[in-house]
Amino acid sequence: MDGTATTPATTPAPTPAEVGLSPPGVLRRVLGHPGLVAGIVLLGFCVAMAVLAPLLAPHDPYAQNLTQRLIPPVWYEKGSWAHPLGTDNLGRDYLSRTLYGARISLLIGLSVMLISGLIGTALGLVAGYFGGRVDLAVNFIITARLAMPVVLVALAVVAMIGGSLLVVIMTLGLLKWDRFAVVMRSATMQVRGLDYVAAAEAAGAGRLRVLAGEILPNVFPHLIVVATVESGSAILLEAALSFLGLGVQPPLPSWGLMIAEAKNFMFFSFWLIAIPGTALAALVLGINMVGDGLRDVFAPEGRA
């Protein structure tokens, strides 16, 4: 921007969004949004579980003990503090497995978000910025991708290649870019016609420079919101795949897999599915509340 600072067109009046994005403004709005604060607390709790799992877990999450099978959690009559959340059908400590499970879910959420975010953002930016035939082509790809049911394609791919953490991450990452592309495309279209973009172009900035330097920072709030919500949805998808036996493989403590393994025992030991199920719902709830909250903070007019 330095070479163009002499022309008046390069100093556009700050938009309301820009004003709101100054650090003190954001902090005030975040704290004034109870849903967002609750979401951050919930998500922070899950992240702490994942990070501190080696310190918090009372046992090795993989260690089996066939003499200690299906012990109920401590709040049941037969429970004990040796296994606060009980043990599973192989005698593995359920609290330790649940704690380590947070790592898998968060890893899935983050990596899928990064891969699909990269693909979708690139497609959306290019389509929205260049318009015309490029936009038509990208729109066509998005429509075709949306026509294919994610669960079915992911199940088929994982079944063919073989289930592992890496395969699940790659499969979901290569499938779930649609929302990024759709949102980035329309956000770029809105920004594209604004004065500072035209000014940068007039000043001779290359297309890549305009995209990365002018457009991307201004559509960033949209990107963050989509990324948040999409990582939650990726976590749910991994759990569903693992639940069906075509995702992460045993003995990894994926919450979806834990529910699948406990399914045959749920009639007598309901807590075996209730604990990972609640953990999964709480994590995704936290992520979605953060996403919803950020949407309000970035665009206060969105929710009356």
Binding site: A147, L244, I273, V284
Partner: protein
């Protein structure tokens, strides 16, 4: 309208073709079909024989065009696992999936329209917050976990409903709730946003100024306009549902397309997987085409742009 329809139809056909190519490539490239047909532990000579008999040694594009032509004539091949024609197999299972999909959409509409309208009319009140909570929880709850909780509650504790199968209407209650709740949140949010926009528009204020009562304004003038995009979204969501019903059908052993897809995937029955993927995608393409045309018909602004 005609020009728009023609353009939209052209896009739908192109998308259908691309999807068919992906469906074909995906299941051909990620495994050796000759090995799958010959079965585990087959001799190399047998595998080669299968390869030449089924024409699997030809170049992929040739195989694709051949396959497309066969599919276009209604021949979907033979199932490797069920040992019967894929078309007949799918025709048997399709009604169950349509029932579960249709019922779930009705359930979602029945929940999201009143809740969304109430949330919009009383925006900011506790009713609005309850509606929002229903939506937020619905988006976070894993469908398979919710389904298991429903089974525990209604089948084991209360003994009201059967656990699995698809013989009577009672078998459809829990799958409908589980799948319907899954698609409720986006629809409810859309109803709420649409109602808020409509209620603050000029003609509603005029209607109020004329002295019309609150309920009359909301239902006669407001809802009618706010519900149009919801119907279009419902069509798209129905497409999602048909894909998402794989998990639910598998849990409840509902004998529909989703369960068939799951079985075909676990048994490496690639002609069936391919056919289900193609069919579900085509249904989605048709539903979105119908939704777009309906929207354009109702809102002339879409046609022009």
């Amino acid at each position: 309208m005609l020009a728009y329809s023609a353009k939209r139809l052209g896009l739908a056909i192109l998308v259908a073709l691309l999807v068919s190519a992906v469906a074909f490539a995906l299941l051909r490239l990620s495994g050796d079909p000759a090995l799958a047909i010959a079965g585990e532990g087959a001799r190399q000579a047998d595998i080669e024989l299968v390869r030449t008999t089924y024409g699997l040694d030809r170049p992929l594009p040739v195989q694709y065009l051949d396959w497309l032509w066969t599919v276009a004539r209604g021949d979907l091949g033979q199932s490797l696992y069920f040992r019967t024609g894929v078309r007949g197999l799918m025709a048997d299972k399709l009604p169950v999936t349509f029932w579960i999909g249709g019922l779930s959409i009705l359930f979602a509409l029945a929940l999201s329209i009143p809740l969304g309208v109430l949330a919009a009319v009383f925006a900011g009140s506790w009713i609005d917050r309850v509606a929002l909570a229903v939506a937020v929880v619905g988006q976070a709850l894993p469908t398979f976990f919710f389904a298991l909780v429903l089974i525990m509650l209604f089948s084991i504790d209360l003994r009201w409903l059967p656990v699995s199968g698809s013989d009577t209407w009672a078998h459809f209650v829990m799958p409908t709730i589980a799948l319907g709740y899954y698609v409720t949140p986006p629809m409810m949010r859309l109803v709420r946003a649409g109602m808020i926009e409509v209620l603050s528009s000029d003609y509603i204020r005029t209607a109020r100024a004329k002295g019309l009562s609150g309920a009359s304004v909301v239902f006669k003038h407001g809802l009618r306009n706010a519900v149009v995009p919801v119907v279009a979204l419902a069509a798209v969501q129905l497409g999602y549902l048909l894909g998402g019903s794989i998990v639910i059908e598998t849990i409840f052993a509902l004998d529909g397309l989703g369960y068939l897809a799951y079985q075909s995937i676990t048994h490496k029955d690639f002609p069936v997987t391919q056919a289900v993927l193609l069919l579900l995608s085509l249904i989605y393409v048709l539903l979105t085409l119908a939704a777009d045309l309906l929207n354009a018909f109702l809102d002339p602004r879409i046609r022009v742009s």
